[in-house]
Structures are given as structure tokens and as C-alpha cells.
């Protein structure tokens, strides 16, 4: 290893771990000791990354308050140093961290709230894509409908929440007191997407969530309706499927249809 490379490794280790080896190679300034001057980098590192977490998870920040959020943030910074050159992606691992690290994993609403915010952030700057409109559907003859396959918009994503995090999110967003955290008997099935420039989400019924997930897997409409028939009234399966499809198209969650 070159001297330059060794020095950079020491400098970085000093910031990440508090090791003082590099101080032997740093000068005091005319007015200040080297420990204080090097401390500027140490302090800036943690505070900048926690600030990035605050920006990406504004409602989790509101929910926890400054002190608890920053404590959590510094724990995340220590556990998951950034490995991407773009600060935009630093917070991507936060939901998983909250799901697995003590004491946060004892409060599953935190991981769920972070997951919902992450999904909305991801929808905000997701790739562009065509938006399928109802007129495009009119081009298909009735006998073709069974074979139609649908492609979700690049911004669309599904997540299942085990808690009432979506209700907490909504209350915080509206500056209202959030409900007490609660674990649900059945997971809350959430669809997230971007409508024009705005990230959106809504909760899907179990049947609609199943149809969305299978449609996203490339299952054609005819088979989707057969699957719906196992969920509820078989005779109403096709109209229900058409109804869900109509909702997806009018809310801009699909990008293409093909046979």
C-alpha cells in the first residue's frame, strides 16, 4: 500500500471508529489543536448523514422526535456506513435496520413507517414510463381480453405492512396525533406509485392485492379472473377484475398492455 493510500485509510478509520492514529500526521494550526480541527471532520460525518436521514424520513423524524431520531440515526450510520457515492441512496437500508436492530425491532411500526416513506421516496424519482390510458384498452377486441398482460408503471411498488403504519403516516402528514401503534391481524397491503409528479399510496383489499401481484408477474387477464373466482363470488369475478383494472388505469399505475 502506498503512503498516500495508507494515510487515507488511517484518516477514514479515525472518522469511522474514533481511532487517533492519523493525528500523528496532522499539524496543529496557529490557533487550534489538531484534535479539534480533525474533530470537524468527525462531527460533520455523523451530522451530515443523520441530516440526510431526516430529509428522507421526515415523518419518522416527527414520530420519534429530535433526540430519539438522532440517536437512532447515529446508530444506523455506525451500523451501515454509506457505500454509494450518491447520498440519495444512503437511507435505503433503514427499514431493514429498524426491523433487525435492538431496540427498534421491538417496535415494528418504526420499520413499517420507514418502509412506507422509502417506497414513496423511491416512487418520487423512479424512472419515467408511459401511462396506459383507457383509450388504449378500446383497441382490443373482447375475445383478446383473456390474453391481455399488464406492465406496472416503473414507479409502482407493493409492500405489506404488519402494523398500522399507514394510519400513523396519514396522521403525521396531516399534523394530527397518530394512533397508538398496533400490530394487525392481517397485513396491510399497500400499493405505491407516482401520479404525474406526486408519490401516492393506497391500501388494497386482499383480492385486489393478489390480482395486482399476479398481473405484475405477467399472468394474463383471463387467468387473473379465474384466480379472483377462488376469492369471492365466481360469477362476479370478471366484473370485479375489470373494475380493479379500471382503477389501476385511471390512477396511472400501469404503463403498458400487450397480448
Amino acid at each position: 500500500m502506498s503512503d498516500f493510500a495508507r494515510q487515507q485509510a488511517d484518516f477514514q478509520r479515525g472518522i469511522l471508529t474514533g481511532d487517533d492514529t492519523v493525528l500523528a500526521e496532522i499539524l496543529d494550526s496557529p490557533r487550534e489543536k489538531r484534535e479539534t480541527l480533525y474533530g470537524v471532520y468527525r462531527y460533520a460525518y455523523g451530522s451530515r448523514l443523520v441530516e440526510a436521514l431526516r430529509n428522507d424520513h421526515g415523518l419518522l423524524h416527527s414520530y420519534l422526535g429530535d433526540e430519539t431520531f438522532d440517536e437512532m440515526g447515529h446508530a444506523y450510520v455506525k451500523a451501515r456506513p454509506s457505500e454509494h457515492p450518491n447520498l440519495r441512496w444512503f437511507s435505503q437500508g433503514l427499514p431493514e435496520f429498524l426491523r433487525s436492530a435492538e431496540p427498534y425491532c421491538n417496535h415494528p411500526v418504526l420499520a413499517d413507517l420507514a418502509a412506507l416513506e422509502k417506497a414513496l421516496n423511491d416512487a418520487f424519482d423512479a424512472a419515467e414510463g408511459e401511462v396506459l390510458d383507457l383509450a388504449s384498452m378500446a383497441a382490443f377486441a373482447p375475445e383478446q381480453w383473456n390474453d391481455l398482460k399488464f406492465q406496472p408503471h416503473p414507479s409502482a411498488a407493493r409492500l405489506d405492512l404488519s402494523t398500522n403504519a399507514s394510519a400513523v403516516w396519514l396522521a403525521l402528514k396531516n399534523d394530527e396525533t397518530p394512533p397508538d401503534a398496533a400490530t394487525l391481524e392481517e397485513p396491510s397491503r399497500i400499493l405505491v406509485w407516482r401520479q404525474d409528479a406526486t408519490p401516492m399510496f393506497r391500501e388494497l383489499a386482499p383480492e385486489e392485492a393478489m390480482m395486482w401481484d399476479e398481473a405484475a408477474n405477467g399472468i394474463p387477464f383471463g387467468v387473473l379472473c379465474e384466480m379472483l373466482a377462488t376469492y369471492d363470488d365466481p360469477d362476479g369475478a370478471a366484473p370485479r377484475g375489470a373494475g380493479y383494472l379500471h382503477g389501476w388505469i385511471t390512477s396511472a399505475t400501469l404503463t403498458a398492455v400487450s397480448t
Partner: protein, 301 residues
């Protein structure tokens, strides 16, 4: 990604060969584009000559930031300013990052692409800070070869900025300005002269900012940054959260006298005020330049 296949294949390829490129044009007096001002800019076409955008803020798959950027680019000249090139890092080059930068440049068609003379991490980590280097011959050789590699990849000369530093290394063999001058001469990169950073580093390390200023080759500087800072008594931190202070305005006058007509911009990253407030500072950069310099038509050269 196969890094080795992208590196120059022989020692000869690493020989000094400054990338010849025309000096970037004088753009006038600009501002750093910030999301807080999107609506005002798009709704009002404020009298700003050009914008500098933070490259990483737009190295994204899609969505509103890129849509806004497209509209800004239709109306104003734009330059790209990155914070993660990590040109002085001893880690292998990050070609995925460079490709993202190149893709964004294809979309933006910036007048130039700049970043900082610094490193941001090694061993797979990124500290998201502009970290200092020792001014040694070894470091200079390394950075020159890295600049050449990046310029070859991007197909254009890049612009590098002096950063604010809080520490100096005891193994430095030359001054920062000597390092920058040599780097520019040997690699062909242009220089972004951050006047606030010169002021901050000079205070922190106890030298005269005019010595720094006079040590930079006048014909290599293509951009000035003007920004505010936070004074801690024994040292200054480059926070970009205050208006430009009077000492830095004085240094700006000296910089104009030495470097002539240079594209200048106000850089504000925190505690961001309404656009009108920053326009006052942008106008001041213009007024001072018009007062100090001869009218464009009469300027020699």
C-alpha cells in the same frame, strides 16, 4: 464492473498528456440551483445568467427533479458540479459513477463539469465529505493520472475546485496553490477558484489568502464560487449557510484583478433564503466586476 479493462493499458498511456480543450466560455453571474427556488425560477425567469447544478441531485432514474432540470436547461446555460467524483481517492475509480455522470452530461449538455480536489472515501465506504490530501509528489502523480483517466472517460477536460480544509498534513512537500497549479498544468484540467474556501483555509492554517491567490495561474481559472461560512473563533467552517462576508467580497475584488472576467456564482446550501435575497448577492458580483474590470469590448485579449 471490470475495472482493469477500463484503465489505460500501458505505462505509456499514463504518460502526461494534458487533454487539449478550449477554455470554457465566460457565462456571467450565476447561482447554484436549489429545489427551494424551482417554482420562482420557472415562474419568473429571474435575471440570472446561468445556473450550477449539483450533479448527484440529478443522477436519478427519473421524476420531478430531472423534469425541472430539463426545463431549466431550456432557459439558462447550466454547468454540472459534483461532490462525489473523489478524484484524489486511492480507491479504484468508480466507473458506475462516471457513467452516471456522463449520462447526465449527455442530457444537460453543461458548459463544463466540475468537482473538488479531494477524496470522499476508500475501501468501499463513502463519507460524503470533501476530505483533504497531503500536498506531496506522490499525491500529485496519483491525482494527475486520475484526472487524465476521468477526462478520457468523459471526453472533455474537467474543472476542479479548491476545498476548505481544517487540517494540514506534516508530510506535505508543497503548498496547496503549487499543487493546484501543477495539477492543472500537467493534466489540462481547469480550475474553479472558490474564493470563500481560500479565505477559510488561509484563516485555518494561518497564511495570507493573497499568497494563495497569487500562486494560481491566471489563465487556468474558469469559475469563481462565492459563499458564506461559520466562524468558530479559532477556525472557520465552510457551511454555506450565511451570506458572503465582507472579507470574502474584498478577496473577490482582488481575484477579479488577477484573473479577469471569470464566470462567478453564489453558492448557498443551507439556511436557504428566498431567491430575491440571493439575487442581491448575484447582482453584487456583477456590479463589482463591472466596476473593477474594463468594459468587455475594451478588454485586451
Amino acid at each position: 464492473m471490470n475495472v482493469a479493462s477500463r484503465l489505460p493499458s500501458s505505462p505509456a498511456a499514463l504518460a502526461e498528456r494534458p487533454l487539449q480543450s478550449d477554455k470554457p466560455p465566460f457565462l456571467g453571474f450565476g447561482l447554484g440551483l436549489r429545489a427551494q427556488h424551482y417554482d420562482e425560477i420557472l415562474g419568473g425567469n429571474p435575471p440570472i445568467d446561468w445556473f450550477e447544478v449539483i450533479s448527484e441531485n440529478y443522477m436519478l432514474p427519473g421524476g420531478q427533479p430531472l423534469r425541472v432540470l430539463d426545463r431549466i436547461c431550456e432557459r439558462y446555460p447550466v454547468v454540472m458540479h459534483g461532490v462525489s467524483l473523489s478524484i484524489a481517492s486511492t480507491a479504484p475509480p468508480n466507473f458506475e459513477y462516471l457513467q452516471g455522470l456522463k449520462d447526465l452530461a449527455r442530457r444537460v449538455e453543461p458548459k463544463w463539469i466540475s468537482d473538488h480536489l479531494c477524496w470522499t472515501g476508500v475501501h468501499g465506504k463513502n463519507l460524503h465529505d470533501l476530505l483533504p490530501i497531503p500536498y506531496t509528489a506522490e499525491a500529485l502523480d496519483h491525482v494527475v493520472s486520475r484526472v487524465q483517466l476521468v477526462q478520457d472517460f468523459l471526453g472533455r477536460a474537467i474543472v476542479l475546485e479548491n476545498v476548505s480544509t481544517y487540517v494540514q498534513f506534516n508530510n506535505s512537500e508543497m503548498t496547496e496553490w503549487e499543487f493546484l497549479a501543477e495539477l492543472s498544468r500537467r493534466s489540462g484540467c481547469w480550475l474553479l477558484f472558490d474564493i470563500n474556501n481560500v479565505y477559510v483555509s488561509a484563516f485555518n492554517h494561518g497564511y495570507d489568502p493573497m499568497t494563495f491567490l497569487n500562486g494560481i495561474p491566471a489563465d487556468r481559472v474558469v469559475q469563481f464560487h462565492m459563499a458564506g461560512h461559520s466562524h468558530m473563533g479559532t477556525h472557520i467552517i465552510d457551511t454555506h449557510d450565511h451570506p458572503v462576508c465582507e472579507d470574502v467580497w474584498d478577496l473577490y475584488v482582488a481575484a477579479i484583478k488577477r484573473f479577469g472576467r471569470v464566470s462567478t456564482m453564489i453558492e448557498r446550501d443551507d439556511n436557504i433564503p428566498p431567491l430575491d435575497e440571493l439575487l442581491v448577492e448575484v447582482n453584487r458580483t456583477r456590479e463589482i466586476a463591472e466596476r473593477v474590470l474594463p468594459p468587455l469590448g475594451k478588454q485586451a485579449g
